[in-house]
Assembly symmetry: C2
Homo-oligomer: 227 residues x 2
């Protein structure tokens, strides 16, 4: 019996209406400070050369970060291609991140934190929370990605593996890893430069069933501005 | 200026016509030994419960392995979801590999080799060979994947990060890794069970610019049968 078809653009559910923090078509007012509420997402249109500064006000919050090329939702930031380009399973300041066509799309121009981020783990989704024991619908980064895109008139062709900013997944020499609380501090920020026209999507990870967002498992808001 | 649109199903080129080793619709004759010529790919339709035994006749050859759910080319074996499920950056015998919807699709039921495989690195593509200095078109695993699917009437929605069988990418404690020759030996095999109806796609990796396929950088054939 064939498996039921899967539409990557279609959210698995919702706990309420979606409001993109950058209203309308996702073009930001430069220098304006935007807020992504806890458990929510945001899509923002970036021009080549612009920089997004992402803030972690509480310090414990992970951001699942995605970037699509403007004009082609099938080409996006790809962690497996980044690893190949970098020769590492970790990223660091000054790294250039690439797409699934190996083109440079995002540069990490500044990082105030200790530099502990993850590029190995899939974003959370409804299926993950069901496996963790959630009852009913649970907010998740895959749906935040899909709904953020839909809010600016785009459809996800695939939910890429994200750049998990401030997510702490230490890998042991044996290759085993664990999900640990972030080591980032309140007010930490990271500056990401668009190297081509792009759509940046951020999800304030709603994970409250593992300590990914801190030992208090209390998902928090994120903030950003573009200049 | 928007980036040019990207069609994931469209090969970047070809060095010659494509012949799927399993002719027609990709349904294999059970127990028949099929050969995937060096640098080429193959798509084969699997029923839930069937097992594919993949052989490495020369011992030095990497297989980029993909699996799609039957009936939905958007749902496929996903290495980032496998890592999450396994809690490791390596696979081993008896592991169950999952899709981007976290459903079980493939089980590693037997592995005659030392178990050195890779689940971190993107498959090679035309862009990768250009970056390595290739002149003109170079056979690659992304195009083998696309062309294998087209041969049985399917279109790739995305080129997933593959299960790189026998590929040797040791990761150091610092997170840096290198591309090393396989440690597999002539005649090694791996048995992969389909846990749901699926399309398996294999590419005999045509990498001849790094020692991924052995220090002789001589890409070789693969063989398989289904039962």
């Amino acid at each position: 019996m064939p498996c039921p078809p899967y539409d990557p653009s279609s959210p698995d559910g919702a706990t309420g209406p979606f409001h993109n923090p950058v209203p309308g078509n996702g073009i930001p007012d430069l220098a304006k400070r935007y807020r992504i509420p806890a458990r929510q997402g945001c899509a923002v249109r970036m021009k080549a050369g612009q920089t997004l500064t992402l803030y972690n006000p509480k310090g414990n919050q992970v951001c699942d970060f995605f970037a699509l090329t403007d004009g082609s939702e099938s080409e996006f930031l790809s962690m497996e291609h980044c690893r190949t380009a970098l020769g590492r399973i970790y990223v660091q300041q000054s790294d250039v991140l690439v797409t699934n066509r190996r083109r440079s799309l995002v540069e990490i121009v500044e990082d105030s934190s200790a530099g502990v981020h993850d590029i190995l783990i899939a974003c959370c989704d409804q299926h993950r929370y069901q496996q963790l024991g959630a009852q009913g619908y649970h907010d998740n980064c895959a749906d935040n990605f899909r709904r953020s895109l839909l809010a600016i008139g785009l459809q996800a062709k695939h939910v890429p593996s994200p750049f998990n900013i401030w997510m702490n997944i230490p890998v042991s020499e044996s290759g085993a890893f664990t999900w640990e609380p972030p080591v980032s501090r309140p007010g930490d920020y990271i500056r990401l430069k668009a190297l081509a026209d792009a759509v940046f999507v951020m999800s304030a990870c709603p994970q409250d069933m593992t300590p990914v967002n801190g030992i208090g498992v209390q998902p928090a808001e994120l903030e950003f501005h573009v200049d």
